[in-house]
Amino acid sequence: MRRRLIWAAIFVPASIYLLLFFTGGALAFGPRRLDLSPLANIISTCVPVLTVMAVGLGVVNLFSLHGAALVKHRPEWPLSLVVCLSFALTFWACVAQNRLDARRRQLQAAAQAARAEVRTFQNLSDPAPPDQALRHLTHEQRQALEDLQAFEDSYHFEPRRFYATYVNAPLASTVMALLGFYITYAAYRAFRLKSLEATVMMLSAAVVILGSDPVGGALSRGILPAWADFDNRVIAAGMQRGLRLGIAVATIAVSLRILLGLERGIVDVQHKED
């Protein structure tokens, strides 16, 4: 029973996608038509929401480890303290930002009526009051506009934006930058003339690297870029298409096997629990 329920949980959503594909998003029964696209919209909402609902698992996993290190005073406890402190600081930054954003939204909502009133007199390239329309506003509407303008004209430290721009982004891009070092060392270490295959791979890479560089183009008067172009457009593209055709068939086959409940080890129930 459990196995069948689990299989049904795989089968139903996958079948909906298949149904949408085979019917073109609508079922036609003679002149009558049943639109199936709301199904697609429901799924496109459910997937991210359900994914996010699992976030508690990550919180439990992370803080059980670092919390235990702190409580039991393990050797790595200072680093666990840094983890917890940086979590708290970042969380505070994001929450503080939400309060600021809420205040901004409140002011915008209050000024919405006034903005609607003056809309026809606003020039996008020079949205500077005062103009004739303001004379028709009530005192409250004018005050709301002035409050909003005062808020937007003043500086507000936005901690979350600061974190995203000056902490998160540089960290992520520097981690990616490490790959530049690694690929240099990997090429130096791995590209040796040990076999025909290794030699061929190395030569192909060298042609593409040098051919894609202005120096290679200048030294070879455009010959190396042409070879690199040929390597990419013809040989690599042919290899990719050949592999992709096979991978496409394999992906369909494996997806079908999962759909039909033939693939074990994906989501499994032990026989004795069945």
Binding site: I6, A9, I10, A14, S44, V47, P48, V49, L50, L57, G58, L79, V82, S86, L89, T90, F91, V95, R119, L124, S125, S154, Y155, A164, Y166, N168, P170, L171, M176, A177, L178, I183, T184, A187, R192, V200, M201, S204, I209, S212, D213, P214, G222, A228, N232, R233, I235, A236, A237, G238, M239, R241, G242, L243, L245, A248, T251, I252, L259, D268
Partner: protein, 628 residues
């Protein structure tokens, strides 16, 4: 040390020495400027021609360019120049455009917004240098920023994004106004995909393949072009050949090539020079390693020694004193830079980018940064707003000053974190461990908040709240039912009811495999049909002579490689005899050539990620210290 030992050492140079050499080489172009010739490749030329024809066609000029900008600071080394150069082409031909991102981080749309401003600035500088009047582009009339439309998987949103855009995006990102033609005149001519002249995808991934496979398969007249990283671009060449993509810009090199087509004679930038030197160092190291390898083998054979594999050596920790000296120097340097910046800001003002001005000497070279005081900002604000609102001008100036100061402080924070991550390269150390702990803790908090803000609240909480308050139909309350499957995640902790957790996992298996059927078939069929072309390279021309058709010859080679690679993965095929073994060997060699090309493209991409970080340290963090 014997020669043999020396040669063996040359094959196993300590990786940290190589890293140091790489940093040195990448840093040089930021101090010494020089120009290199650029040779645009076939694909870049074709892209330029295709876009030029599109932008000149009276039919398409009335339509808009739809830009999907899915890149951020992490891939700005490649995507930044690509975005800027393509946008310059769009701006120069006065094509109207809208842009958005499907990434769920505001930094992506802000990178795009900054890219638009840089492209406008570059076009303005070019116009000034050419003696033309300063061109202008108006937000809402010439271009529009639709902001973020988060989609964890682009394929799931690709169709709706292009066929029902305005139903997905309620307000614009800059002015936060409803998307109506009254608010934004650009929208008068944008109703749906029929009003899109070109879909331009600038990203770090292969979203263009999803657009082709899912959307273009239903709308075959839709023109799609993309600019992406080298490693992804190699995947997409096949789509260019099949005509599904009308243009492809490959990595930062492609951007430089495209720039040479829209601005012939423009010099190469320090970033491009830096990557060039990095590639040359890589090739030199490969050459060094192979020369040492071949000489070692020769000496071993000459000496009658067996040629043995070099033993793997673990990464030896650096001497403690060296590590301490390094970190002491780093801290001292950082403190000194901070002191200099504090002094100069206090005395001369805060640093900002210098923008072109109408009075600039077209032949002059101006520093990229300048310092500006609060008083100077106030004067500039008063000039812009006139004498009408002196108080407002003062407030705007204070805001601008505070933002510039915040930006500079942020750069100092970014610098120390950058150095912390780079410390990983010398091996396990405390500095790196602390940085890693900050990454884990802050990453968790940011992840929680982002998921709440970008997914849970807009897609689930707000519809339910609206339904509960009567602002939306009561059926919205049905979303509460998602709590049932959502709670199943936590049954993994339950002993007896653990199997319930497998239900939600199974549901996601279904969600994962469902779209694959359409996607794979949508990608596969055009590629099969495109492969069917004439391949016989010998043709007879008008005078009756036999000529070699290069395009057909290329296609013949393409088909041979395709057949070999496809045959290599026939699992029940067992090589019998020389023919079968030969076929497998040929297939393996074709694979190795292809993977070598992929590796080569990736080198471009990875160095395009590294060079901007080196550039940030030298040009932005330290370079701005000395702005006047």
């Amino acid at each position: 040390m014997t020669i043999l030992q020396l040669l063996q050492r040359l094959q196993q140079i300590d990786r940290r020495i190589i890293y140091l050499a790489l940093v040195t080489v990448l840093s040089l172009p930021f101090f010494v400027e020089y120009a290199l010739p650029v040779y645009p490749d076939t694909c870049t030329r074709q892209t330029f021609t295709a876009l030029e024809q599109l932008f000149s066609d009276p039919q398409t000029r009335r339509k808009i360019v739809f830009i999907i900008s899915n890149w951020g600071p992490g891939t700005s080394g490649e995507n930044g120049p690509q975005f800027e150069v393509l946008l310059r082409h769009v701006l120069r031909r006065r094509m109207r455009f809208i842009f958005l991102t499907t990434a769920d981080d505001p930094i992506f749309i802000e990178s795009a917004q900054l890219g638009v401003q840089r492209a406008i600035g570059a076009e303005q500088r070019r116009a000034l240098a050419a003696g033309q009047p300063l061109p202008e582009w108006t937000y809402g009339v010439d271009y529009l920023n639709l902001g973020m439309l988060p989609a964890p998987v682009f394929a799931s949103i690709a169709d709706t994004l292009l066929t029902r855009t305005l139903s997905l995006v309620p307000i614009d990102y800059v002015l936060r106004r409803p998307l109506t033609p009254e608010n934004f005149p650009l929208l008068e001519n944008f109703r749906g995909p029929q009003d899109i002249a070109l879909v331009l995808v600038v990203s770090a991934g292969d979203e263009a393949a999803d657009v082709c496979g899912i959307v273009q398969s239903q709308l075959p007249t839709l023109k799609v072009a993309t600019a992406t990283m080298g490693i992804v671009a190699t995947d997409l060449y096949a789509l260019v050949r099949s005509g599904q993509l009308c243009g492809l810009i490959n990595s930062a090199r492609g951007a430089a090539e495209y720039l040479s087509l829209i601005d012939p004679g423009a010099p190469t930038m320090p970033l491009e020079n830096s990557m060039s030197l990095g590639k040359l160092l890589l090739l030199f190291l490969v050459l060094l390693g192979n020369v040492a390898f071949l000489l070692t083998r020769h000496l071993q054979r000459a000496g009658g020694l067996p040629s043995a594999e070099l033993p793997r050596r673990p990464l030896a920790p650096l001497p403690r004193k060296l590590v301490l000296a390094l970190f002491a120097g780093l801290i001292a340097g950082y403190v000194a830079c901070t002191a200099i910046e504090v002094f100069r800001t206090t005395h001369y003002g805060v640093v900002r980018q210098r923008l072109p001005r109408p009075g600039d000497d077209p032949a002059g070279r101006y520093a990229p940064y300048e310092r500006v005081s609060l008083g100077a900002l106030r004067s500039q604000a008063q000039q812009l707003s006139g004498a009408r609102e002196p108080d407002r001008a003062a407030a705007l100036a204070r805001r601008e000053f505070a933002r510039l100061l915040e930006s500079r402080i942020g750069e100092f924070v970014a610098a120390i974190l950058t150095l912390g991550v780079l410390a990983f390269l010398i091996g396990d150390n405390r500095f790196y461990r602390v940085t890693e702990a900050i990454i884990i803790g802050s990453g968790m908090a940011y992840f929680l908040v982002e998921k709440w803000d970008k997914v849970l609240r807009p897609l689930w909480v707000e519809p339910i709240a609206a339904a509960a308050t009567g602002a939306a139909p009561r059926t919205g309350m049905l979303w509460l039912l998602l709590l049932l499957p959502g709670s199943l995640w936590y049954f993994v902790y339950a002993r007896r009811l653990r199997w319930l957790n497998q239900l939600i996992v199974a549901l996601f298996v279904g969600f994962a495999i469902g779209p694959e059927f359409q996607k794979q078939v949508g990608l596969m069929l055009p590629q099969i049909i495109d492969t069917i072309r004439p391949v016989w390279p010998l043709t007879v021309d008008g005078t009756g002579r036999l000529t070699l058709d290069a395009v057909r010859l290329e296609h013949l080679i393409f088909v041979i490689v395709l057949v070999l690679c496809l045959c290599y993965f026939i699992f029940f095929f067992r090589p019998r005899g020389r023919a079968g073994t030969g076929l497998l060997t040929a297939g393996r060699l074709a694979l190795m050539v292809g993977f070598g090309a992929l590796f080569g493209n990736t080198v471009n991409t990875r160095l395009a990620w590294l060079a901007p970080r080196i550039g940030f340290i030298w040009q932005e963090w330290i370079g701005k210290l000395f702005a006047t």
